[in-house]
């Protein structure tokens, strides 16, 4: 049998065999069986981790603290080989419709009706080839591949991605890891709420013990903000003198960079030290009054606005930026909330928490992790949490809305009580009643390293990001749910995936039964 061959090749596998463990999974062996003489015969190299989202790709080696390179899917990167015109003097940046232009920056989008999967494949192939040839400097396909993906990837897109990797390069298997759980792992947490302020969508994922227990999404995300800021900048441009106006460039690259840089200057979201609820109520008043606490030059952000030849100093009002940010992303506490896909992020956050069971909610609230490009907008995350806090204190944890309803308890007070049905010791909450010796041991363990319980208030935890989370988890020899075997995928495609996620999950949780070989693979959340 090939097991002996395999164990001769891989010492770790041999150890496992000798341990006589009844739980030895046979998946490695089966992949050796199906592709004899593949990469297993080479000295084992560090697996490659690639994190992919609709805007870009990060690639690096497992066990390292960050990716070696990052690659954006931009029109610049979609040019012909040898076409350097964008770098030549005299190259004309065009003022194009941002909405239309933004499509050229996306690898895919949730509406697949105008996504050319062939083009997706072309772009991705070039990006991965460049990552290997210019940055990783190892032979592509020789080492294992770990793919970190958003938890929702349209099926045809996932199929195209996997097909490309398996057909173009000779990976024997590809491991899929979900970005939100990796974000949690890279924060040192096991549970929490990931607010991914992504490009097309803001996705809020409640994670409990690395499992996604709730996912909600809204289109109030960076794309909406980019379009909004684009309008705002256009309005600023229109107000300039005629001869200045026409020289000012306004394209996608500039707007996106403006958001990054203005965000870093704390200009997109104003200081968070004052009560946000009060401020949003008096925004109109502030706009009119020139005697606001902010001094004259503090009210405007002076930027170097690119022109065709150089730069020009232009002032952009901070107040307008703040309002645009609130409108595009954060929302207000009084907004009439609906369950559609355009909810503001603070409403979405409130709704997500509301839909969680009170114990999970109690675990998630002090474990908020922000991710996505918008995290670089200083103050934005705190602004979202403040607004959500205002919603909670107004409405508590009841789904019924209405001013006449008496809010007898404050939301947070109720929350604190909610933890009476707690998670477990791992979250430093009170342990449940001890009904067996396991619980007893748990309790002892807890007593051993006593920690004060974490109060159930919003608390932001920093994450090193999904790529690093995957690097961390993978270097601990953790095995994810979803390992796609080359031969099986190429012969059956995604249709061969075992869709019964829950049953598969259950069987895996208990460990595979003795002697049983796992012949199916699952797409888990991607199925």
């Amino acid at each position: 049998m090939t097991t002996t061959v395999a164990s001769a090749i891989r010492p770790s596998l041999r150890d496992r065999q000798q341990s006589g463990s009844p739980h030895t999974p046979s998946r490695y062996i089966s992949s050796v069986q199906s592709s004899p003489g593949s990469s297993f015969l080479r000295p084992e190299e560090d697996p490659i981790i690639i994190e992919l989202d609709p805007r870009g790709l990060n690639a690096g080696f497992q066990g390292e603290s960050g990716p070696h390179c990052t690659f954006s899917f931009t029109p610049q990167n979609s040019r012909r080989i040898g076409d350097y015109q964008a770098y030549l003097p005299g190259y004309k940046r065009r003022r194009a419709d941002l909405q239309a232009r933004s499509r050229e920056y996306e690898l895919w989008r949730s509406d697949l009706s105008d996504v050319d999967l062939g083009l997706l494949e072309d772009k991705l192939e070039r990006a991965v080839r460049e990552a290997y040839n210019k940055h990783l400097l190892v032979d592509a396909g020789a080492a294992r591949l770990i793919l970190v993906l958003p938890s929702l990837v349209p099926h045809p897109v996932l199929s195209t991605i996997l097909t490309l990797f398996f057909e173009r390069w000779k990976y024997s298997s590809i491991t899929l890891l979900p970005a939100p759980a990796m974000t949690i792992a890279a924060a040192g947490l096991r549970s929490g709420l990931v607010i991914d302020l992504g490009w097309e969508e803001t996705v809020i994922t409640a994670i409990y013990e690395y499992r996604e227990v709730q996912v909600r999404r809204s289109t109030r995300a960076m794309k909406a903000l980019t379009l909004k800021i684009g309008q705002l900048l256009d309005a600023v441009r229109e107000k300039q003198d005629v001869q200045v106006r026409d020289s000012l460039l306004l394209d996608f690259d500039f707007v996106e960079e403006f958001i990054d840089r203005a965000g870093a200057c704390h200009a997109m979201v104003m200081d968070v030290d004052e009560d946000l609820a009060a401020r949003t109520a008096t925004l109109q008043v502030q706009q009119q009054s020139t005697s606001s606490p902010r001094d004259e030059n503090g009210a405007k952000l002076v930027i170097d606005w690119p022109t065709e030849t150089s730069y020009r100093s232009i002032a952009v009002p901070r107040e307008a930026l703040h309002l645009a940010c609130i409108e595009a992303i954060v929302g207000t506490k009084d907004e009439t909330s609906s369950d559609d896909h355009e909810q503001s992020v603070s409403q979405l956050l409130y709704r997500t928490l509301l839909s969680l069971s009170s114990d999970v909610r109690g675990v998630c609230i002090p474990r908020i992790v922000f991710s996505g490009r918008a995290t670089s907008v200083a103050g934005l995350s705190q602004c979202i949490l403040d607004t959500t806090n205002a919603i909670i204190s107004q409405h508590g944890w009841t789904a019924v809305r209405g001013k006449h309803l008496p809010t007898t308890r404050s939301g947070l007070g109720e929350l604190a009580q909610g933890k009476a049905a707690p998670a477990d010791a791992r979250h430093d909450l009170h342990p449940p009643g001890m009904d067996d010796f396991v619980e007893e041991r748990l309790y002892k363990q807890k007593a051993k390293d006593t920690q004060p319980a974490v109060p159930v208030v919003f608390r932001q935890v920093e994450s090193l990001g999904p790529w690093t989370g995957a690097s961390l988890i993978a270097s601990l020899k953790a095995k994810s749910f979803v390992e796609v075997d080359r031969e099986k995928f190429l012969s059956h495609g995604l249709a061969g995936a075992h869709r019964d996620f829950e049953s598969n999950l259950a069987s895996q949780r208990l460990g595979p039964a003795r002697g049983s070989e796992r012949t199916s693979w699952t797409l888990a959340g991607w199925g």
């Binding site: 979609s78 015109q85 200083a378 791992r426 961390l472």
Partner: protein, 573 residues
Amino acid sequence: MALPFPYIYISCPCSDASRRALTSKRSSRDVDIDRAMQDDEDTFDPRHPRSAFSLFPPEHLLYCEECHEIKCPRCVTEEINATYCPDCLFESPKVMVRGELNRCPRNCFHCPICTSQMITTSIGDPKSGPFVLNCNYCMWNTLDVGIKFDKAIGIRGQVDEMANGGKQRPATLKSPYSGQAEPARKSSLSQTPLSPGHQDEAPDAMDRSVPGAPLDATARFNALRAFYKEQITDSSATDASFPTSALDMAYSSPSSLQRIMNIYTNRDSSAKRSRQKLTIMREARTSSEGFILTTESTKVSSPSIDYDETTTASQRAFQHPSFIGNPDAVKVSELRPMPTLMRTKRSKRCATCKHILTRPDLKISSARYRIKLIALNYIPFVTIKPLPVPGGLLAPVPDGADVVLAPGKPVQFIMTLRNPLFDDASVSLGCPSVTPGRHGHRVTILCPQFRIGKNSDAWDDALNNPPDRGTLNPAAGGEQIAGKLYDQGRNWASVVLEIVPASIVRQQSAELDEDEDVIEIPIRVRLEWTVTDLDAGLERRKRDKGLDDGEDVDDGKRELSYWMVVGIGRVAC
């Protein structure tokens, strides 16, 4: 287009949607492929976004002698033969490259502002320093971030040790776990330059960190990993008291990943077993375990900064990886000079048959190849110039000025195909009468089918042909008659290409799309030839294989067809 007019691109046949439809079983994509095939049947559209990925300058293409196919960067596999610094040409042995983090281990650096190569300069005594790295392009230098060097050599090692501001870099964290921590992803150079033992970083390297300094991403990563490892070993040890689950709990056993990935337990009895062994792990709590609250991080505490102090996305992208640069840099003053990324020499093989297509000379200073099967040794080399008629276009001058054509006015070009093969080849050119896309320009090739002679050597040529052959004869050649060649020579032939540019109508305010006014003509090239003198190598290979397999006998007939795109010029508008 960046290339001066006229230019030639060739679309590698591997990208042909129809070709792929035959070889793959992608059921989910049949619909797309069908659609693509229908489009593709008629004409290759150079403006289609996908075309940018299949079009290559001809000199970028290779040719596989086994498959008789053109090969582009997408249909070859690559193997690294050597790794070297492109700035100082220093070659690093393969085993060292990862330890040096794929960067030049010596003195080569690039500017974090403009990415130009930096120069080591003395800011004191020319011999004894101190020294800085200076960018002669944008004038940034390392003093801007408070870094200067005692020695003019081993700059990489010195930079790796130094944080911006000149203090020691807190690359790792002193924590109770430091003993068992994996080696930090810190360059091996900060110990002894070029020491091979980068994996066994000395423990004292861990202890040099500044206490109380904020954790950088690498230190945090190491702290988190140490924490997770301790959790796994701890819980495994406790579990050892459970006979049923003891054996599979050893660290790195496959079930530890279940523990990490999949620990959600219900209160039902079936789940209790897993609970027994799994619930012991906890989350990180302190910064020494890698846990950091956002309020503690520097991001929030930094007061407002000016717009021109902030970094751009491309500057941050240039700072990867985080264990060398600072991809999270908010301010320009947080950027780091970046050691030069190493480059590789690679051999290429046909992805289909593994036949070797290029193998570089291993000497770093040599740009030569020991093997290089370039496509231009198999397919005709094409040149284009305007027909020399009074009042016609002038031949392009190398000043890069655009070739501009008047709309509605027919223009003739001479397209010359030169045969590199040692056999006669028959050529058939096909092109749409109207170019695809928004502005259909009318195109005619006056003589689409012809033969071009073999590339015999010049001596043969002189013997077999009268000396005036091959030069333009105004009486016989230079004709613009349909079905007749314009001119021909020993191994080349010229045909006339006539174009009637369409006029581009647009509203006053509307801006042209980029290159919307460029005239590009897709031409399908079909070549047929018979190899009369089969290459010695081929013969040998056949002998080795043994001829008994019968089916593989090479009759020498070759056929090749591909789309070529000719960029002619711009339409005046």
